[in-house]
Structure formats: structure tokens, C-alpha cells
């Protein structure tokens, strides 16, 4: 017998949710097969079977449990845990039965057929609200379908909300939003942020990108953001103050490697996959890896190691038509670069007004590790590299 436990996927994680079982109750599973998808604060991860055998699920889909909880057994739970205490065979002529109080229905337990439960889950119906018409008040298929129909018909039948209904709705935060909330509050409370902004002429970077893209053809992509990631990584190597973390009042840890967190927006919230050794990676490889990470983040199929260990982060809202914004540092990092949209702007060059594509970069920095000048020098280096993009290929 093997236990499948809720894994601990990071120091901050105290509980996790079973998002989906990929194997059914009672199904034969092979060691190494994916059993379930788990939602942690950061990402959804897949857990694999460590042994082969029959799966016995103890935590249903949608339920969150503390780290370390057994969520399933392979090859059965221990017999003692599963079976009630054996009873002695009852003596022949009607021995007085011990008075056992009738088992109370646990609160919130609804009698419903398996099909009704499946349909309710599909239609987002709370079974507590559905009146059961099956035997003993069991909620059956027709009850759920009737309820869904009624719900669909309701807005037409009742245009104004009833007076009893409040003007607001209290929505529980998803686990991911709760985690994001914890991180940003901690960051803004504990890290003294300051911000430095510069403008970058990305005309040559755009030309280089176009040339490389043409050489790549259809199969590969190089984006301006890849160039920005590369420039940021190289600049951090030169100005390592921002590639660091405050350990305590006396110590700052300078990282020898540059791992860039890439902020990716998903419907559930921010996911931050990590581009490792971005400063040492050739641009082509960097573009591929960045793409894998971003797509993985959106499809929720990142591995644990894809989302940990960033030393600095980059947030790009260029595609949302944002010219300038400031970002919140991801603790324990010491900086984050906010990237706006490249816009055609009139620029003075050698006494002439010319139109150039210009983009704004804003670095948020932890004042405990560097000052305005340090951040400015870092930003100037990023700018220099992007305006001379051949340097990114060297």
C-alpha cells in the first residue's frame, strides 16, 4: 500500500486543493502516471503515482486539505481504517439491542444521485438549493435539469432584484488571489520601493527582431520582449545590486546567477514562471524557453521548478496599450522592471524632429540595496543594450 499525500510545494504553502482527479476511483494505475492536478498558491501541478496498484481516493475534487494529508491510497487504505470495528455475531434469540442514536446527517450533506451530482457540477448548481423529488427526497437528474431551466428563465421573469437581495455580492477570493494578496501586502509593507523611468528608442531592436523573425520563418518566434529580457539579464550581471535579496538588517545576498521571473496574466491571476540563467542563454534559446514558460503558465501545466527561484522580475503590459506603469517587487527579490508599449513619437535627433518607436521602462527597486543612481545606471545599461541590439547577440 502506498499513500498519496498533498505535497508541500513551497515554504509558504500550508494547504492545497485537488482540482481534478485524472484517474478514477478503483482504477489500476502505474507508477509514474499522473494521478491528479493540485492547485497550490502559485500554480497547478500534477502529481504522479509512486507505486502501481488500485487507486482509492479519499479527498474529492474541489476540496482543499492541509499539506501532508493523505488524498488517496494505492492498493487500498489499511483495512482497519476502512472497515468498521468487527462485530461479534449476534447471539441467537433477540438479544437486547444497544440503543444507538440514529446517525445524524452531517450538515450540508445532500442526498443526490451520482448523475445529479455530475450534472450539478457541470452546470454550477449548488445541490443545497435544489429540491429533490426522488425517493426519500433524493435529488435526481430531472431536479437538477428543472433547476437549471428555472434559473435560465429567471432574469426574464424577474427583472428587478427582490428587495431582500443586497446591492452587492460577496465573492470569496480564489486561493491564487489570496496568495497574490499576501505577497503584495508583504512587499508594499516591508520593501521601501522607489521608481526610476527612462525612454528607450526601440527602432533598431524592432528591425533586428524583424530580420531574425524572417530568418526563423513560421516555426519560431522572437519577440521584443525576448530582447528586453535578454537586455535586463545582461544589465543585471553588470549591476548586481538589483539581482539580490535582503536577508536581514546586516546582510544582502547577491545572486551569482540571473533568473528572471516573467509576470504572466491568466484568468485566475498572476503566474510567474522563471527563466533560468537568462544572461547566459543565447537569444534563440531564451525565446524558446520564454515561450514555453508563458504558454505553460496559461495552460496551467508548469512544473514546480518552473515557478521558483526568480532573482528579478519583468512585467510587460505593452500589449494592453499601457505606456507607463510601476510594478510591485516580488519578495524576496530587490527589483522589477515594468515595460510599456512601444509608440511612435516625435523625437529630436541631431537637431531634427524624427518619428521613432519609443518605449518606457520603469524599474522598481528596493532602497535598502541600492539608491537612485544605482537604479539609473542599471536602467541606462538596459537602454544602451536595447538601442544597440547587436550587443544582445554577442
Amino acid at each position: 500500500m502506498a499513500e498519496v499525500i498533498m505535497p508541500k510545494m513551497g515554504d509558504a504553502m500550508t494547504e492545497g486543493k485537488v482540482v481534478a482527479w485524472r484517474k478514477r476511483e478503483g482504477e489500476r494505475v502505474q507508477a509514474g502516471e499522473v494521478l491528479a492536478e493540485i492547485e497550490t498558491d502559485k500554480v497547478n501541478v500534477e502529481i504522479e503515482a509512486e507505486a502501481s496498484g488500485t487507486l482509492h481516493i479519499t479527498v474529492p475534487e474541489g476540496q482543499a486539505v492541509p499539506v501532508g494529508t493523505v488524498i488517496a491510497y494505492i492498493n487500498g487504505p489499511p483495512a482497519r481504517a476502512a472497515a468498521p470495528t468487527p462485530q461479534a455475531p449476534s447471539p441467537a434469540p433477540a438479544a437486547p439491542k444497544p440503543e444507538v442514536p440514529p446517525a445524524e446527517e452531517p450538515a450540508g450533506r445532500v442526498k443526490a444521485s451520482p448523475l445529479a451530482r455530475k450534472l450539478a457540477a457541470e452546470h454550477g448548481v449548488d445541490l443545497l438549493e435544489v429540491k429533490g423529488t426522488g425517493p426519500g427526497g433524493r435529488v435526481v437528474e430531472r431536479d437538477v435539469l428543472a433547476w437549471v431551466e428555472e434559473r435560465a428563465a429567471q432574469p426574464a421573469a424577474r427583472p428587478a432584484p427582490s428587495p431582500a437581495e443586497p446591492d452587492y455580492e460577496d465573492v470569496p477570493l480564489s486561493r491564487m488571489r489570496q496568495a497574490i494578496a499576501r505577497v503584495v501586502v508583504q512587499s508594499k509593507q516591508q520593501i521601501p520601493h522607489f521608481y526610476v523611468t527612462t525612454e528607450v528608442d526601440v527602432g533598431r531592436a524592432l528591425e533586428l527582431r524583424a530580420q531574425v523573425q524572417e530568418a526563423f520563418g513560421e516555426d519560431e518566434r522572437l519577440s521584443v520582449n525576448d530582447l528586453i529580457l535578454k537586455a535586463t539579464a545582461l544589465a543585471l550581471r553588470r549591476f548586481p545590486d538589483l539581482n539580490s535579496q535582503v536577508l536581514d538588517d546586516q546582510t544582502v545576498r547577491r545572486h551569482r546567477r540571473v533568473h528572471l521571473g516573467i509576470m504572466v496574466a491568466t484568468p485566475d491571476g498572476l503566474v510567474v514562471p522563471v527563466l533560468r540563467d537568462a544572461d547566459r542563454m543565447p537569444l534563440r534559446e531564451l525565446a524558446r524557453e520564454a515561450r514555453r514558460l508563458v504558454e505553460g503558465a496559461r495552460a496551467k501545466r508548469l512544473r514546480q521548478e518552473d515557478t521558483t527561484g526568480a532573482t528579478f522580475s519583468v512585467s510587460n503590459l505593452g500589449m494592453y496599450d499601457v505606456t507607463h506603469f510601476v510594478a510591485i517587487i516580488q519578495p524576496p527579490q530587490a527589483g522589477i522592471l515594468a515595460v510599456g508599449r512601444a509608440q511612435e513619437r516625435p523625437v529630436v535627433r541631431e537637431g531634427q524632429v524624427v518619428v521613432r518607436p519609443v518605449l518606457q521602462l520603469t524599474v522598481s527597486a528596493d532602497h535598502r540595496v541600492t539608491d537612485g543612481v544605482g537604479a539609473a545606471e542599471f536602467l541606462a545599461e538596459v537602454k544602451r543594450l536595447l538601442e544597440n541590439p547587436l550587443l544582445l547577440l554577442l
Binding site: 444521485s113 451520482p114 448523475l115 451530482r117 455530475k118 425517493p135 433524493r138 437528474e141
Partner: protein
């Protein structure tokens, strides 16, 4: 397609297979001179002579054991038991030898034996002669267990049984010998382990086999008048058991009733219900209903016997419960 009775379907299959294959021989009590207690072997002694149609002494242990030995040495005996109740003295031969010889011999020796005869109740044969043996024999690996309900399946399954290299428990039903039905011409054979959806419907799946199938079909007719559509599945084989076809039907109807003539405990219906739960629990809109014989030895008196076994009314009630 010619119409013939269940009995004629069995007899004509014996004739066709004996004509085709000289290693097919018949053994049993009163199958030759008397032409069979249920007339299945009528005319066969005259046609094939006493070497191929062997009247045996009244000793099941002896003649079934002899059949197993003949099968091990290359013949294809079809042994008739007057009823399956009489197989009990030979249960040791069937379970300990026929079912295990291939296994014990590492695949070197097969037992291509068919044991056939009437199984089940409903014809006033009282407690010792009304029993059903599908779950008893179905329990043992190494055996095949089939129970045709129609003349066409009697023919198709018997042909497969005779050509099978495994020992086959061929369960006929005394109440069905006179039932008429269309039977395909030619080399009609029904593979083992394939249930048949004999009546499509969308409200409830009703599973049966052997005599119970006919009661279920009558109930389905009754309920159709009210707009209730039963999907009726005839199992045909008990081992191998085709639960997949049953589950596929339940996925469409979301409700299931399983009907068996035999006693409730450890019966075929429990096995099928369990298979449904394992395969399509989330598709069920109600618990699986079982209809079974009463948990008593079969009574002789007609009125009591009627009470002891499923009838159309009880099946109809169960279907209505299953639809609640």
C-alpha cells in the same frame, strides 16, 4: 428465416455439428432409446448409432467424468444432464478436473466438452430440481457458462460451445423448449461474452438472461403503452460476462434493473450491479434495482412456486422503483 422451437434449434445444431465433425459424440441418460427426457436428442440414435449416441448408466459422476476423459483424448463430447441439479454428484469432476486440466497441464491438454441440460425453475419440479447454477459454475475460472433465451441464441451458442476448446456449462431452460422463434440459416454462431441489446429504449436498462428475458420483454411491452421505454439487454453469456454492453446502455438510460430467477445472495444480478457501479457510477440517477427469486427452497405447489420466483408484476414494480 425459418421459425423453429428452442428444442429444434438445439437438435438441428447437434445434427449439423455431428455431420460436420465425427469427433462430436453424445452421452447422457435416456438420450438414445428414450430420445431424451425433453426430446432434444429425438431421432439421433437412429441417425448416428450407439457409438456416437451413448445411453449411460444413472451415474453423473461416471458419465461426466468419462466425457472429460474423452475430451482430453481428442473427442468433442456433448453430455446431457437430465437437469442441472443432477450435475451435483459430478461437480468434483467438473470443477476439479474439467475446469483445471488445461491450467494444470501448462496448456498441453484441453477439455473441449459441452455439458447441457435444463436449468432453473418454474415448471413444478420442486426444491431439488428447480435450482439455478449460473452463479455456482460462473464462479470458477476455467469454465464457460452460457444461458440462451431464444431459439436463435440456443443454436448460435451451442455451435460456439461445441467448437470451443473449453468446457462449457450450457444452461437451457425447461420452460423454453417449446418457445418458437426465427433462427438464422447456415453456420450461425454467437460468440461468448457478447450481450445483446434486444430492445432499445431510453428510460431504464433492464438486464436479464434465459427465461427471465421473456418476462422482461412482456413488461417492456406493458410499460411502452405508458410511454416508458425499457432498453432490454440479454446477457446470453454469464462467463465471460459482458458488463461493457450493460454499462454502455446504463450510460444512456441512467437507471438499471437486473433480473434473475435464482436466489438473491451472491447471484448473477449482484455481480452485474457491481459491474455497473464500477464502470458508470457517475451516470446513475438511481440505485440499481434487483429482482430475484425468493430466498427459500423452491415449493412444489403451483401457487407457492409462483410466489417464489419473479413474475411480470414484480419485474414491473421493480422497473417503476428504478424509475422513481
Amino acid at each position: 428465416m425459418p421459425e423453429m422451437t428452442y428444442r429444434e434449434a438445439l437438435r438441428s445444431t447437434l445434427v449439423e455439428e455431428m455431420d460436420r465433425d465425427p469427433s462430436v459424440v453424445l452421452l447422457g441418460e435416456d438420450i438414445g432409446l428414450y430420445q431424451g427426457t425433453f426430446r432434444v436428442t429425438e431421432g439421433l440414435l437412429e441417425r448416428y448409432g450407439p457409438k456416437r449416441v451413448v445411453d449411460t448408466p444413472i451415474s453423473e459422476l461416471g458419465f461426466i467424468g468419462a466425457g472429460i476423459g474423452m475430451a482430453m483424448l481428442g473427442l468433442r463430447p456433448v453430455v446431457e444432464v437430465m437437469t442441472w441439479n443432477f450435475s451435483l454428484p459430478a461437480a468434483d469432476q467438473i470443477l476439479q478436473n474439467a475446469a483445471k486440466v488445461r491450467y494444470f497441464s501448462g496448456g498441453q491438454v484441453s477439455v473441449p466438452l459441452v455439458i447441457r441440460g435444463p436449468n432453473g425453475a418454474g415448471v413444478q419440479l420442486s426444491a431439488q430440481h428447480s435450482q439455478s447454477f449460473e452463479s455456482f459454475y460462473g464462479h470458477f475460472p476455467g469454465l464457460r457458462v452460457v444461458a440462451p433465451a431464444t431459439p436463435a441464441d440456443a443454436k448460435g451458442l451451442l455451435r460456439t460451445a461445441i467448437r470451443s476448446s473449453d468446457p462449457v456449462i450450457f444452461l437451457e431452460h425447461a420452460a423454453l423448449y417449446g418457445v418458437k422463434g426465427p433462427v438464422p440459416d447456415g453456420d450461425h454462431a454467437v460468440p461468448f461474452g457478447q450481450a445483446a441489446v434486444v430492445r432499445p429504449g431510453r428510460h431504464v436498462t433492464v438486464v436479464a438472461y434465459s427465461r427471465m428475458l421473456h418476462l422482461v420483454l412482456a413488461v417492456a411491452d406493458r410499460l411502452a403503452a405508458e410511454g416508458i421505454e425499457c432498453e432490454v439487454v440479454d446477457l446470453r453469456s454469464l462467463r465471460p460476462l459482458d458488463v461493457d454492453t450493460v454499462a454502455a446502455s446504463v450510460r444512456r438510460t441512467h437507471r438499471a434493473v437486473v433480473v434473475q430467477e435464482q436466489w438473491p445472495l451472491f447471484g448473477a444480478a449482484a455481480e452485474i450491479a457491481s459491474g455497473i457501479y464500477e464502470r458508470c457510477f457517475d451516470d446513475l440517477d438511481a440505485p440499481v434495482e434487483r429482482v430475484t427469486g425468493e430466498d427459500v427452497p423452491a415449493p412444489y405447489a403451483r401457487n407457492l412456486e409462483r410466489l417464489a420466483f419473479p413474475d411480470e408484476d414484480r419485474i414491473e414494480q421493480a422497473v417503476r422503483r428504478g424509475l422513481a
